[in-house]
Symmetry: C2
Subunit: 208 residues, 2 copies
DNA sequence: ACCTGAACACCGTTCAAGT
DNA sequence: ACCTGAACACCGTTCAAGT
């Protein structure tokens, strides 16, 4: 058998398409079955559940992260990795939402965490703090990509923040910032960079 | 009219109960109606949608944050606020999930963001960076409480990480940490503190 | 002003039955 | 080994009709 599980691959392929079109919330097995010209029940022959499909998607997207760690301080390596993760998540719409919705379980996800732990392994801190450091780091990256997706979706309708005049008196600073149009500059690369540096500098002054 | 909207209050009260019992995912209008001895459709007379109920919950829980800013540096104030937010979120099960699921919209939520912005208002940075700083800060706190909830729910079944032997070779560091039982120490207060200090120290070295 | 009943258009998952 | 049809037990929301 040269080719194995062709339909399984097709289901995953169609799932990526459906996810891009519908988002995580509106992704349904019935829509997926229509896309594949299959019955819903036959999808269940290939995958045990909807979550099993999602776990496979998570496995794949994280497998697409490719990185060559040329830099040698752990700070530089975390930066490089951060960019690489961010890039892959952006190339697969709603994959950040997927990572947020389910705890790490896919083999590639666990391997990624292990690789990140290796980067800070030599530092003088307990395993708890190291693990937690990587959690905070990953949460930051995933959250950034999630917010970015949200901003992209709502860039047309202008009430990113309730447009009411109430805002002017109850949250004057926020109101002012909104008037200045800062929400158009939020998802930019320099923001991502700033946050990543905040974390890494923070790790530096607290981990050792 | 001395008392206004008694049923509206009852619906909110029952919603808190239902949220605690079922979590966000399993919260349904039909279950809520049963709890209230009402029809589903009559709930819709009081609230336009399920989200409208959730927005009211968000409004309430954030309104419960009470804080007396005795400290005077912005770093100390962000710390104090962080503890206060964390405490309220923990007192209302699944409220962190609620905040994650919906963008800031409830009046009290916007007011909170404004108060936090005020704390760093005097710093020498652009409004974009200040707003983003507060976003990162809030995301951290909310995420911590979410993860804590998840840990609490899964403390019984031991496969917090896939228990497979595969882990030993593909993610050896993670495997080792798991053996050491670090996952029992993750949700603790010193972890929250560490992360909050990481952020604040990071802000300090990047914002100015 | 407030509530009911019934319906619409969906869900994820299971399972006997087919080929 | 793979797929179908039908069913089960749910969803959020709407709306004419009641009091």
């Amino acid at each position: 058998m040269v080719q194995k599980d062709m339909t399984k691959d097709k289901i995953i392929e169609a799932s990526w398409e459906l996810l891009q079109q519908e988002g995580l919330e509106s992704f349904s097995m019935r829509k997926l079955s229509k896309k594949l010209n299959l019955t819903v029940s036959s999808i269940y022959w290939h995958f045990a559940s909807k979550e099993a499909i999602f776990q496979e998607l998570i496995h794949q997207v994280i497998g697409e992260i490719n990185i060559s760690l040329t830099q040698n301080t752990w700070q530089e390596q975390l930066l490089e990795y951060g960019y690489a993760i961010s890039e892959v998540l952006r190339s697969r719409p709603y994959s950040a939402q997927l990572l947020m919705a389910y705890p790490p379980k896919a083999p590639n996800y666990l391997k990624l965490i292990d690789n990140l732990l290796k980067i800070i392994e030599h530092l003088d801190a307990s395993h708890e703090y190291k693990f937690y450091t990587i959690s905070v780091y990953l949460n930051y990256i995933i959250n950034f990509e999630m917010d970015l997706m949200y901003l992209k979706l709502n860039s047309d309708k202008e009430d990113l923040l309730s447009t009411a005049d109430r805002l002017k008196t109850s949250a004057p600073l926020l109101h002012q910032m909104k008037q200045e149009g800062i929400f158009n500059k939020l998802g930019h690369r320099n923001m991502f960079d700033y946050g990543l540096h905040v974390l890494i500098n923070g790790f530096e002054s607290n981990l050792t």
